[in-house]
């Protein structure tokens, strides 16, 4: 992929590796996080009969840039009773977790950090680091609100991994691959090939699968929502209860890291949903590049479609946030263990039965 290309170009695996590693960060995560925060504030503003940021740049487009530059300047407070080592590691770990996930996300058929065979498995595994980071942050802050937030967060993320994985499993079972690249490639060219609509095989099974795929899609969307701590599942940082949850004690750049990680995560989970169910980077209507016979246009189109779909789901997450109240911690657990997991499990069984038909 991109690594091979760079390796050929520069002749040095080291440079190629470094660039491949940093590319998503600077080309995508940072700009995306800045954009997403602004989008969030704009979406919130317009939903609430307000305007959102207006004064910083044209219609506030520089608002988040100013926020980040300001956060860099802020004093980095480490209180006397904080566990200094963990306190410093936690934001890095959280950010690293969500950053590492981007390695396996297929932005297009060429812009792909690493085409790992176990892509989806890898993403789910490394996002587990986020939990560790959050727990560390909560513990090291030596603040009761942070601790409660961290505990809630750990419980929540672990509970909601299960329905996510069950749904992922059903797709994996159907396709026989864990590579997100292969998954995206298989749902090629048109939207009726998406797994949301039963997958590319045009047989009777496809139509049988459609309702169960829709259920699976809903489950994975809900549970990923919970994994990134968004409303209605934002209890770990529930503003009105726990002040800011696990990052109550963080200031300046460390807080910014949590902030960036949160928004990067929002995109990462949306990307998983997109890659599994909505054709990944494939265009729903065929490619302009094919039509005009311009080969280099196709990856750009793919990149556009992938980010478009991803940002659409990020937008839906924001939309939900500014519409819904939040659940209570026990209701949240009940929603996962009593409803999502059994449904996901039966869904898995039925999809399995259909696929052997």
């Amino acid at each position: 992929m991109i690594y091979d290309f760079l390796n050929d170009l520069t002749g040095s695996p080291f440079i190629a590796g470094t660039i491949t590693a940093l590319l998503p960060l600077f080309a995508f995560i940072l700009p995306f996080a800045l954009f997403a925060v602004l989008l969030e504030r704009k979406v919130a503003g317009h939903m609430q009969d307000r305007l959102g940021p207006m004064r910083v740049g044209y219609h506030g487009i520089l608002q988040t840039v100013a926020d980040i530059i300001k956060l860099i300047q802020k004093e980095d407070i480490i209180a006397r009773n904080n566990d200094k080592l963990l306190f410093n590691i936690a934001p890095v770990l959280t950010f690293a977790g969500s950053y590492a996930a981007f390695a396996a996300i297929p932005f297009s058929s060429v812009f792909l950090g690493a085409n790992i065979d176990l892509g989806i498995f890898y993403i789910i595994a490394v996002t587990g680091l986020v939990v560790a980071g959050i727990l560390m942050a909560g513990w090291a802050s030596n603040n009761k609100y942070s601790l409660l937030g961290a505990m809630r967060s750990a419980a929540q993320i672990i509970s909601y991994e299960i329905p996510t994985i069950l749904v992922v499993l059903s797709i994996v079972m159907l396709t026989g691959t864990m590579s997100l690249y292969d998954l995206s490639e298989s749902q090629t060219s048109y939207f009726w090939n998406w797994y949301l609509l039963g997958g590319p095989e045009f047989e009777i099974q496809k139509f049988l699968l459609i309702p169960f795929m829709l259920i699976g899609f809903l489950i994975i969307y809900i549970s990923t929502l919970a994994e990134v701590n968004r409303t209605p599942f934002d209890i770990p940082e529930a503003e009105s209860e726990l002040v800011s949850g696990y990052h109550t004690e963080y200031s300046g750049m460390k807080f910014a890291m949590f902030f960036l990680a949160e928004y990067a995560n929002m995109f990462a989970v949306s990307a998983i949903v997109v890659a599994l169910f909505l054709g990944g980077y494939q265009s729903p209507f065929g490619y302009l590049g094919n039509l005009l016979n311009i080969n280099w246009l196709i990856p750009l189109e793919q990149f556009f479609w992938f980010t478009f779909k991803g940002i659409f789901f990020v937008f839906v997450q924001m939309w939900l946030r500014w519409t819904l109240p939040r659940l209570r911690v026990d209701q949240l657990m009940a929603a996962s263990w009593k409803y999502l997991i059994p449904i996901a499990f039966f869904n898995l069984l039925i999809i399995g039965i259909i696929s052997i038909l």
Binding site: Q48, V56, E239
Partner: protein, 166 residues
């Protein structure tokens, strides 16, 4: 004055431009502590709400003082509360700013004479950057106070002392 000091105090192009950038960032993104005391807090909420919309200026309430830049002391500071306000101020990371909103926190307001439990002015416990008069100040007045604070930040300098700034 050493060579380096001179170099910095003269304000060469590099320093002034970064300074401008930093000041611009600071003034454009003043996150307030989500903290209300009394009547003025309601007007502060009204300022954040749809009609006046503080968010236009980049001001959003943060629940935790660790992540905020400006504290709007909105309302009467009582003796029981004063040390808490002070602690809250101390919890905020530098650079931090204080807007004193309303007569009560400016000078004790209507409680200045017989208020046995009222602190006559929040500036007796924490330093104040901008005073907004009124009882309670209208949201427009608070916005004006914010613009004044932004003006103040715009001319801050890392090389000059704070009190030299006009």
């Amino acid at each position: 004055m050493g060579l380096l000091d001179k170099e910095f105090s003269d304000g060469n192009i590099l320093i002034t431009t970064t300074e401008d950038l930093f000041n611009w960032a600071r003034l454009s993104s003043l996150w307030q502590v989500g903290f209300g005391l009394a009547c003025c807090a309601i007007e502060m909420m009204a300022t954040s709400a749809s009609h006046y919309d503080f968010d236009r200026f980049g001001v959003i309430p943060r629940p935790s003082p660790r992540q905020s830049d400006v504290i709007i002391v909105s309302g009467t500071v009582t003796l029981k509360m004063a040390l808490r306000v002070k602690r809250l101020y101390e919890q905020m990371p530098d650079p931090k700013y204080v807007i004193s909103m309303g007569s009560c926190s400016n000078c004790g307001g209507p409680y200045w004479e017989h208020g046995y439990h009222v602190l006559k002015g929040v500036d007796r416990v924490i330093p104040v950057d901008v005073y907004v008069p009124g009882c309670p100040p209208r949201p427009e007045a608070l916005l004006e106070g914010l613009l004044k604070l932004q003006e103040k930040i715009r001319y801050e300098s890392i090389t000059k002392k704070k009190n030299e700034v006009v």
